[in-house]
Symmetry: C2
Subunit: 256 residues, 2 copies
Amino acid sequence: DSRIIAVVNEKGGVGKTTTVVNLAAALTQWDKKVLIVDVDPQFNATRNLGIVVEEGQPTTYELITAKKPLNPAKAVCETPWSGLFIIPASSDLAGAEVELVNEIARENRLKRLKPLADDYDFIFVDAPPSLSLLTVNVFAFANEVLIPCQTQPHAYAALDDLLETLDLVREEINPDLNLLGVLPTFYDPRTRVSRAVMESISQDQRFNGKVFPTPIRANTTIAESAMHQKPVVFFARSSFGAMDYNSLAQHILGQI
Amino acid sequence: DSRIIAVVNEKGGVGKTTTVVNLAAALTQWDKKVLIVDVDPQFNATRNLGIVVEEGQPTTYELITAKKPLNPAKAVCETPWSGLFIIPASSDLAGAEVELVNEIARENRLKRLKPLADDYDFIFVDAPPSLSLLTVNVFAFANEVLIPCQTQPHAYAALDDLLETLDLVREEINPDLNLLGVLPTFYDPRTRVSRAVMESISQDQRFNGKVFPTPIRANTTIAESAMHQKPVVFFARSSFGAMDYNSLAQHILGQI
Ligand SMILES: Nc1ncnc2c1ncn2[C@@H]1O[C@H](COP(=O)(O)OP(=O)(O)OP(=O)(O)O)[C@@H](O)[C@H]1O
Ligand SMILES: Nc1ncnc2c1ncn2[C@@H]1O[C@H](COP(=O)(O)OP(=O)(O)OP(=O)(O)O)[C@@H](O)[C@H]1O
Ligand SMILES: [Mg+2]
Ligand SMILES: [Mg+2]
């Protein structure tokens, strides 16, 4: 069965999109077939891969707002990299929240994608920076959660709300949702702040040791690869960014 | 009259909260009386100043959701720095969006703070990373908009949506809303990406030259000051962060 992994943290700019795009790309190097689902109204994962949505092409918005469910396979796009696929998003998604307010079981709309699970080894879902209806949909659909956490004070503090929300989601909406792990990002061993927050994350009892041992280091090649609309693991294979996301992929595959 | 400045960009992690806290603090050094209004459900501005909300203390949530409007002055808190005040937020604010959905004129709730305008030289409003009802309330209340923009590709691309939204807000909700300027943040002159995006921002015709000439440089002291719950202008007066926010303050006061 496919592993459906939500990448979530309502704190903005912590590396959610970067993790979805680069971890998904890294896993294709081990012959995994991977699907990205972009659930961010700013469609950064779609943009990061250079995907342009044509007029009339179905996106995440259509899949979750259509009265009669569409065939989700119709929204899957190929990317320039073999083994890597994406259901793109567009700014239409910003309207979904209000449109679904009065719908029954509005948090289960993304579950319409469940039939796709058998076709992929991994499905990664990129969430927006908020604990909104879209994010609740992401929680209802996924079976694992990966939490990128910038090694900065605000991002670490945001985890309190997130863990409370996860407990609520497990009780009310999706009892099978497991914490895959917390991923420290923007790690810079030269600064006190980064080391201090890394220390707090690693020792935090609430995660039961589920903290990825290899942090993602702060690394301008990652931003540069986004500018060139390529995953860093294909843009600059020997950069820190590529190395860190490759070792994260190996960790998730149980190889290290 | 008071200048009410919304600091907005739905891209996450671009430096909205950092700009509100540090620009507000910098302006008090020129004997200005400044109020911060925290409209982010993650209440990072409140946290950044070390403000702890007691049980029963009114916050932004109460001001905007109360059936009968409260006296907004009751929600104003002092901070450890003279001339600097804040209306704090709490995670209750995350519920406001859904609670106000069926209310008439729900985008005008923050305007209940208008009576405070005469008491302050500047009011800065920290918005969450989304173009949601809370952000629309911020647009309806403010008369100027400052847009922090990380010198990174995703943050620059997010400006397309934001400028469209601003046009819509001017037509439908608040014709007096002016663009104060775009503030380049996390600027690192050593990296190609940062220089390239800085170049795109400065030459972008849509801003009519309203780009602050002094970018805020990437600077770990800023993150460190957040950890010590102090504005960087008071935490490390000679750091890049303090220098850059002080020159931004001077620019806004028309001194440079
Ligand atoms: N390890 C890293 N080192 C340096 N830059 C990074 C790193 N990870 C991400 N970035 C850059 O930082 C910015 C924020 O990252 P990203 O957009 O992935 O965060 P996000 O959590 O998805 O943001 P949002 O909350 O807006 O969805 C991007 O410009 C990205 O290129
Ligand atoms: N110029 C800078 N140099 C280095 N770090 C910075 C700078 N500005 C902000 N930061 C740090 O980057 C992180 C993101 O900044 P901040 O929280 O102010 O962004 P934001 O736009 O308010 O985020 P959100 O979208 O979650 O509200 C914080 O940890 C902050 O301390
Ligand atoms: Mg993102
Ligand atoms: Mg903020």
